[in-house]
Symmetry: C2
Subunit: 198 residues, 2 copies
């Protein structure tokens, strides 16, 4: 068992999200870890079924060594054409993206790609619940901003390199981060979005 | 532009799904290609937003060469813990898996993993619409079987290595494959499942 590749992976890969390991090269990882833990909590309590999609990879070359499993020896990261998270909550389709910044007054817009904005618009048109979770790590504040408000800003201010925190505070909802689950975003969905609809 | 890795990929990777290229090593690919084309059709007509999830890959080692993009040089295929396809149709969460066989009388059960069955049960519990698309390539017949019927068979007949076509015909719905879209599975969802609910 010791030589199994997945054992090696757990020690070396930056995409492994263990709660104890937070010193990742990827800046967004600790927030991502908190979201994944929240989703695990929702799943285990049968509150919702929401998963992070696998990282999109273009596979170029695969070796098939004897007596061991297939090894990918050449591959490249692809840009995601959809959002990172999706799932179901009380029959509703849930779809969201998570972004983190160290800035104190604005969220950089460069991480929202045109494909993702288009995907969010498509999801809204089908009646899905779509939003972004925005984490300001220096301020230790997390906001839920509905996709319609993100799209509105994106379309209106395409020249802007960042979305002001004031806009996010005005249009979005602060998520009270707790110990367990860490990022209880479904509380906002339930109280602010579904509560208003039902 | 010619030397970009993604150009190489389009020529060599089995996971690229172009309608014209059907001679794939992966047996399930031509059926998968048809489903992807169907989802493209649904997306372009604004009928539904349903995507195939990226192949889950465990990344072990990444090179960062100067002047070119990051290259993954060691990675392994992971077993999927959820189903392959998910999305939203008229606000409903859609979740399914697709399987193909050359057999004429039964669908092998070995390709349905315990994790996937559990995921399907979780989705149903949250009120999602969950099913499998089963393609019998020799018969040229495709069926939609609801997840509840797959789970029922799986739990009752765990010793069985395959699910009889008779069971699928009795519990499932034949999908009339057409030229465009190729696998109109949402017709069944609309007429047989939602039609009964609404």
């Amino acid at each position: 068992m010791v030589n199994y590749p997945h054992r090696i992976v757990r020690k070396t890969v930056p995409t492994v999200t263990k709660k104890t390991a937070v010193n990742f090269a990827n800046r967004g990882m600790s927030f991502e870890t908190a979201i994944n833990a929240t989703n695990d909590f929702y799943l285990s309590r049968k509150i919702a079924v929401i998963h992070k999609k696998p990282t999109p990879v273009q596979i170029v070359k695969v070796d098939y060594p004897k007596r061991s499993r297939a090894k990918i020896v050449e591959a490249y990261f692809r840009q995601a054409s959809t959002t990172d998270y999706s799932g179901v909550y009380k029959g509703h389709y849930i779809d969201f993206e998570a972004k983190e910044t160290k800035q104190k007054t604005a969220m950089p817009m460069k991480n929202f790609h045109a494909h993702q904005i288009e995907h969010m618009a498509n999801v809204l048109e089908q009646g899905g619940i779509c939003f972004v979770l925005l984490h300001f790590s220096t301020l230790k504040e997390t906001y839920l901003l509905q996709a319609c408000d993100l799209i509105h800003f994106y379309q209106k201010d395409q020249g802007s390199k960042s979305m002001p925190l004031n806009y996010i505070k005005k249009k979005g909802f602060l998520i009270e981060t707790t110990a367990f689950p860490q990022v209880p975003y479904l509380d906002v969905i339930e109280k602010k979005l579904l509560g208003g609809k039902q």
